[in-house]
């Protein structure tokens, strides 16, 4: 068992039934829920892997693939949508070869689709890590991706 998991389990010794907080904690530390992590959580909580996976896959917050180095979010909120956000997303999907929720095979980018960053004046918006790229156009996408 990896050291990180053993450490996390220590603090949950008294409440082995708390599967969801445990999953959250593990994801926080490892970035995602690996097969090994699910297997260890199952052993620790005394339920089966399928049951743990069943709980985790119910919630959108849990991921089963590792996150890329950079998180890339494309907004499809109302403002971004009317100003062509979906075109931006399509271009990003094509450039990176992944769907929202996925990670590129070189683990560089994880793509997500979000609904509003609260900066609608800049629509359409794309956020890479903490950098906000406003007033996006499809031609800008390649340049921006190249910077990372």
């Amino acid at each position: 068992m990896p050291h990180e998991l053993a450490e996390i389990f220590k603090s949950y010794q008294a409440e082995k039934g708390a599967v969801i907080p445990l999953l959250q904690k593990v994801q926080e530390n490892l970035g995602y829920l690996s097969k090994e992590a699910i297997s260890e959580i199952a052993k620790f909580s005394g339920i089966s892997e399928s049951e743990v996976f069943g709980v985790a896959s119910f919630y959108a917050q849990f991921r089963f693939t590792p996150r890329g180095e950079h998180s890339l979010k494309v907004c499809l909120g109302t403002a971004c949508h009317v100003r062509g956000g979906s075109n931006i997303l399509e271009t990003v999907e094509r450039e990176l070869g992944v769907q929202p929720g996925g990670t590129t095979s070189d683990y560089k980018f994880s793509l997500e689709r979000v609904a509003c960053f609260g900066c609608c004046a800049l629509a359409p918006v794309m956020v890479v890590d903490k950098d906000v790229h406003g007033r996006m156009t499809t031609t800008k996408v390649k340049d921006i991706l190249g910077k990372y």
Binding site: I47, S48, E49, S50, F53, G54, S57
Partner: protein, 882 residues
């Protein structure tokens, strides 16, 4: 669909979750409810192929079933394997749905064929969740769960693992729970509905699961555990599963492992006579005359009979009667010698009766379950469900096992002691119980005897010594002792890990002592429960297929008893007890036994020191083998008699909880095979024997009832309605599920002082590892039956030796390497399975596989002094890479 209308209650509550109260008025079928049901059903059917369901011409398609249904994609009932049994069909008829107006979505999911026994087509799934619940809540496995959510929700495994990877045990409970064709047994997929269904008893382990055999055209198409069983024939107050040991559950062997062996092409169909080393088919008359003629020459102690724990009570009764009354010898024994002879000997001395004290269903209601020397989930999967039921109700679980068995996952304490150190471990626990004042001294005072001598012997077991011998940390022993003594009622479950030792009887005494010391016996949900291994090993013992007792454990060396049987059978009987199974093989070597009658037993694989056994069988002048297959042992016989399988004859089996259950003939005998009782009677009659004129097993049971106190009230008419736990002395008695209530069968419970004896063979320089043996979930005994089943062989095709990673590193062995396991008796080649399940210094093999037979390695030289049990669980070996 279970919505109802309750007067004075808002909305439509579900009947299954609404508690009934006095005076409430419930309406289950009003136009409004039916309308609502139709709407719900319509929604369900938008994702379930329903063309045939609502088709008004569906009746006319019936003749074309056979051609239509063999398509890959199920688009309607007529192509569905569940057609005719589908609960959706019934519901559609019930609510009168004639049309589905909403658009239909075919989910186009791939059909999953990763189980060797059933297919999973989730395009037909209606997400009712029954499979998930039975897998998680009743089986305690959780191989499947609901995954994802909303419109993506599906029943599945983690990361789409195969069922095997997800921990599935292939019990088939999900298949039986599924209301639609989503989960379908592959072998029976296109068989359609059975012509008739016969209720009988599973022929594998001692649990005695009640199964329904589904028959079509004189073939069994499926074997399914019964939910209602005998329960619905009983008055309502007894409703809750009274009279069924398995509560509608089975394991992979009973559910999927029966059809193939019963209908296997290698079944023996004609009698065989060996001439010049070759078998030649013969007629029954020919072979029976030959056998009768030959046996006339071997009367007395030069003859031995090995009876079988697989055949019925009636047949066991006849086989021992044949040996005693016709052949004039008490040389009759069976494989219980190699499983629970120490339990019979030990518990009879301690309590007066050598069987499970409490019924199986009591385990689930105990407050503490102590499982020692039993890999319950593998050996007795359905009893393990009771253990899991207890855990889910909050019971404490103590597991004592050198190997990490599946139950360890839930154990509050896992005592990983060294094989063969059970007496020390148990005495250590009792020492703690005494020292901490946790013993139930009032119970001991009132109900037991010989306590002082026992107390004296406890002095030798201080915890430092116990820790050294068992390698279990002191703290764990103390914790286990406290749990067992304080969480009442506590029950002990044990099996071969206790008995298969050169001091197996001592181990049993230790368990009996522990139960009496804490007062955990003679009460509901407590007791001492030896799990019997074979479907009818309890019955074979009860019927006196043992060398030292007649039927009902009436002793041979008691002249009054001898007189009773001489009068009853009208012959004179031998007063000397006969030889036990291992002794028989020794005596063949010394030339004193010359002829043997072997019924449904395969000692070449099951007996310790297999080489010695094989040579013995070859040395015999005349060997009769009676079996359903030409087993490794039957090949050595002079004459082979083809017997019927359990499905082809009537009779009774007595399961591990002493429950006498009816075995019913479901199909005609295979080829010219005959029931064992018929064969024994024919031989006896041809030898001029009297008292073998039976035309039906029920007549044999009448005779058994006359001479067996515990079976006095048993007859076939009663067994049609109830299954009875012995003792059942008369026709008024409803049987005795719990023994020793108020007083022990022998009067007072007897404590036995004990001392620690190490196993006969301990590891040394040349043979540094301990080999222990056991059973797998997927195979049964010598594999005569299970290894003929494709799916079981698929799941576990070959044997392996389990080695701890630490030992493997030292030996340079990797996972899957071919290795040679060598003991003082012989060597076998097998594959290595490197796993933490085996502790360092201990290796493990199962004994099912003839090509890597573990019993070539085990020793038969040192036997338990009382029960003559060889030490099958401990032998010293070394491992070499090949």
């Amino acid at each position: 669909m279970c919505i109802v209308e309750v007067e004075g209650m808002r909305g439509f509550p579900t009947a299954c979750t609404t508690p009934a109260m006095g005076g409430i008025v419930v309406k289950a079928n009003t136009p409004q409810i039916q309308e609502l049901r139709r709407n719900i059903l319509e929604l369900v059917l938008t994702e379930h192929p329903h063309t045939c369901l609502v088709c008004d011409r569906k009746e006319r398609c019936q003749p074309y079933h056979i051609c239509l249904r063999k398509v890959a994609v199920t688009t309607g009932c007529i192509m569905c394997p569940k057609n005719g049994r589908c609960e959706l069909q019934k519901v559609v008829d019930y609510v009168g749905l004639a049309e589905v107006k909403l658009p239909y979505t075919y989910r186009d999911l791939p059909i999953l064929r990763d189980s060797p026994f059933f297919d999973r087509d989730y395009n037909l799934c209606i997400l009712c969740g029954r499979c998930v619940r039975v897998c998680q809540e009743i089986r305690g496995v959780g191989a499947i769960a609901f995954t994802y959510r909303g419109s993506d929700a599906l029943v599945g495994t983690a990361f789409d693992y195969s069922l095997e990877e997800a921990g599935c045990q292939f019990c088939g409970a999900c298949v039986d729970a599924c209301p639609t064709g989503a989960l379908a047994e592959r072998a029976a997929k296109w068989e359609g509905l059975p012509e008739r269904v016969i209720t009988t008893i599973c022929p594998y382990c001692g649990v005695g699961c009640q199964l329904n055999l589904e028959i079509k055209k004189e073939r069994i198409i499926s074997s399914v555990p019964i939910l209602e069983a005998l329960a619905n024939k009983l008055p309502l107050k007894n409703f809750v599963f009274q009279g069924t040991p398995n509560k509608g559950q089975a394991c992979v062997k009973g559910r999927f492992g029966i059809v193939e062996f019963v209908h296997h092409p290698q079944r023996l169909t004609n009698p065989l006579i060996k001439e010049n080393g070759e078998f030649k088919e013969a007629s029954w008359d020919e072979v029976l005359d030959l056998v009768a003629d030959k046996l006339q020459r071997y009367k007395g102690d030069q003859f031995a009979l090995i009876s079988s724990a697989k055949i019925t009570n009636e047949e066991n009764y006849l086989s021992q009667k044949f040996a005693r009354a016709i052949m004039g010898t008490n040389n009759v024994d069976h494989c219980a010698r190699l499983c629970h002879s120490p339990s019979v000997a030990g518990l009879t001395q301690a309590f007066g009766s050598g069987a499970m004290t409490n019924p199986i269903s009591d385990i689930g209601d105990a407050a503490c379950v102590f499982v020692i020397g039993s890999n319950t989930p593998s050996g007795h999967p359905v009893i393990a469900l009771e253990v899991k039921r207890a855990i889910s109700k909050g019971a404490k679980l103590i597991v004592a096992n050198p190997r990490e068995i599946n139950l360890c996952r839930w154990a509050d304490v896992w005592l990983r002691h060294l094989p063969g150190s059970d007496v020390a471990l148990l005495m250590g626990m009792m020492r703690v119980i005494m020292d901490e004042g946790l013993a139930d001294l009032a119970f001991v005072e009132e109900r037991c005897e010989n306590f002082d001598a026992f107390k004296q012997s406890l002095k030798d077991f201080d915890l430092d010594f116990v820790e050294k011998v068992t390698r279990v940390p002191k703290a764990k022993i103390i914790e286990a002792a406290r749990l067992y003594a304080t969480q009442k009622p506590a029950t002990i479950v044990y099996a071969m890990g206790i008995t298969q030792h050169s001091h197996g009887t001592d181990n049993v005494f230790a368990i009996a002592n522990l139960a009496m010391l804490t007062g955990n016996i003679g009460k509901p949900f407590s007791g001492v429960n030896p799990l019997r291994g074979q479907n009818n090993v309890q019955g074979a013992c009860d019927m006196g297929a043992l060398p030292n007792v007649y039927i009902g454990y009436q002793r041979i060396d008691n002249p009054d008893i001898q007189k009773k049987f001489e009068d009853f059978w009208g012959v004179s009987l031998s007063p000397t007890p006969g030889l036990t199974l291992p002794e028989m093989f020794d005596t063949i070597h010394s030339g004193k036994i010359k002829a043997m009658y072997l019924i449904g037993e395969n000692p070449v694989i099951s007996e310790a020191d297999a080489k010695h056994t094989e040579e013995a069988l070859k040395k015999l002048e005349f060997l009769i083998a009676q079996d359903i297959f030409l087993s490794e042992s039957a090949r050595l016989a002079s004459v082979v008699l083809p017997a019927c399988s359990f499905a082809e004859k009537d009779g009774t089996f007595t399961n591990t909880e002493r429950r006498i259950q009816r075995v019913r003939k479901a199909i005609k005998p295979t080829g010219n095979s005959k029931p064992d009782w018929w064969i024994i009677c024919e031989i006896a009659k041809r030898m001029g024997g009297k008292g073998f004129d039976f035309s039906d097993p029920s007549e044999i049971m009448q005779e058994i009832a006359k001479v067996t106190p515990g079976y006095g009230g048993v007859n076939y008419q009663r067994l049609e309605k109830v299954s009875l736990c012995w003792p059942c002395p008369n026709e008024e008695s409803l049987g005795t599920p719990i023994l020793h209530i108020g007083t022990f069968v022998r009067g007072k419970g007897r404590f036995t002082p004990l001392s620690y004896k190490p196993p006969a063979e301990m590891p040394d320089k040349d043979y540094p590892l301990i080999l222990t043996t056991g059973r797998s979930l997927y195979h049964y005994h010598t594999g005569t039956m299970t290894r003929k089943v494709f799916g079981l062989n698929f799941l576990e095709p070959e044997g392996a030796v389990e080695v701890n990673p630490a030992d493997a590193r030292g030996l340079g062995i990797n996972q899957g390497d071919k290795v040679k396991v060598i003991s003082r008796r012989g060597e076998v080649i097998t594959k290595a399975r490197v796993t933490e399940a085996s502790p360092p210094g201990v290796v493990y093999m199962s004994f099912h596989f003839a090509e890597s037979a573990a019993n070539i390695l085990t020793s038969a030289t040192v036997l338990d002094p009382v029960a003559k049990m060889p030490e099958l669980k401990v032998s010293a070996v070394r491992i070499e890479k090949v």
